[in-house]
Amino acid sequence: MEMPPNDILLKLYRQLLTARRGEQRMFEMVGPAIFPTGHRGVGEEVIPIAICNNLTETDCFHPNFRTAFCLFAKPGIGLIDVIGMNLGRFPRLHPFFAPQYGTLGSSGTLGEPAVIYVGAALANAIQKTGDVTVFVQGDGASNRAPTHEAMVVAAAWQLPIVFVIQNNQYGMGTSVHKAYNIEDLSLRGAGYGFPHDRVDGNDMIAMYQMAKKHIDRVRNGGGPSLIAADTYRLGAHYEGDAQRYRPKGEVEEWRRTKDPLPRYQKQLVEMELLTQREVDRLEEEVAAEIEAAIAAIQALPKEPGSGPPVATAVDGI
């Protein structure tokens, strides 16, 4: 597949770094209150970022709840919005509920958003808007019934939607191997007649190329498809989770060999697109950008009783 242009490769790096540092900063500030309710996305940022860089402002997008912070990469939504979401202020919009930018809320009953977003894909098709919908959820949520019904309808009507299974190896504490009888989760797509691919979701370039392939296909009038992106949840399910279900050494092994941030950084250095000096400079720039957004949010007048808009979800499993 075609190598993305250099400016895209560098933008992806900057966004990956922003996601990793920004989410950590939010955790330092609000602890377990980090959106949504203490679930963090460390290690899984590549998938939403690679997808969002293939979307337009009006395309619809549902990230895995765990990577909600990465919504700043969705065209139309910005860093200030996701920082505001974590600090309980909404100067412009709620990143997870901005229908004009294609986010339609989420759900603590995981899987349910699949049927909601397939409805958006249907509306886009009926109104001939040309907008693409990309619906991402985890390996756990993908087992729930609404996912099946959403795929059934998408297949029957050939709706403009790409489904993505973000396989982070655990549905809460249950290993994907206990919940599936297949290794390659993209095989689920075959039963619906979807073109389907498996990709290393911790490899930024591969994930970007895969997302582009599927999104371009749908945008050009192709029907629904499925990507299974393999990744790993480097953190706990929620803050305070003792994680007794993980085999000893597993997290360390993934962190050492497949953590997408150092991995992608190394790749760009090897491709001579980044020097160590630029890596350091980007760290400073991104940190400054995050602090500026925090300051902007904190400077907002505090309205009594102000909270998220009524129609948001993702407030608990």
Binding site: E112, A114, V115, G119, I126, V153
Partner: protein, 340 residues
Amino acid sequence: MAVLTYIQALNQAFLEEMRRDERVVMWGEDLISMNGVYGHTAGIYEEFGGDRIKDTPICEQAITGMAIGAALRGLRPIGVFMNSGFSLAAFDGLFLKIGCVYRGLPIVMQATIAGPREDMDHGISPEALYMHSPGWKVVMPSTPYDVKGLMKTAIRDNAPVMFLDHSAAMFSGYSDGSLYTPYQDGSIMFGGNKQEVPDEEYLIPFGQADIKREGSDLTLVTFSFMVHHGLAAANTLAKEGISIEVVDLRTIVPLDVETMVRSADKTGRVLIVHEAMKRGGVAGEIAFRLQEDAPDTVASLKIPIQRLAAMNLPLAGRPDWNLTPSADSIAAKVKEMVGA
């Protein structure tokens, strides 16, 4: 003035509103291939084509969830459940998402309710469940005139509406007409029975009960098919000199407390009748709303508010009207209350 069955009147409401607003779309099982089984979706595909009406696979969760997504992206969807028991397969979407989380979306979900039929999956009356979910308006019509005006209002409403039609109205009668024969006496508009419906456009606002029969001895509060049992009981009782007022709520959310209170002030007695099971049924809510909103009226009643509803039994496999209120049981209860 056209003389229409319930199904024909409902069908007209769909056609008129879909002509009026191209954002109105509709989907459900067999809406095109079998005219929605009951016939109420006939002619829509022919007039508007496949973008406006869709036959879904069997997928109640998708029928529901898609309404949310499509409404958020600019459409005004009508989701159709063949039977209200099937709607329970989508309860997360209906109760939690549309009713609690998203709320103000222009969605109509239509489902056919019924009393004792072949099984609970086809024949439950689930209105209490939707009344309990904060965002829903709940509509339960009883006549061709009402269903048309109420459905047109529902489609124009910007909040979600659960539109529950009774199977006795939706079927134009079983082939031998046996189930509904006692109530097809001319004053009762159900099944194949017809009623005059104006040719010119009309809407019926929500939260306005209709007094289907005036009376002075007792206020019978009810809705949907039980209106017809109540009217049949009123006919019988009139011959014995007992005059009852039949209040058809038409919508249970919003609830027209004012009309009930005015009637109760006049008659001094209130009986609430519904077809769903008594425990946790909407009669309890209606009675308490009367007590909260009109304590003086309730305190001056000649006899405490009573209710008549189905037994607390799963009605499956019991095609037997004796388990739910009937004209006979309503008449007996009224006589007990008026001391006749």
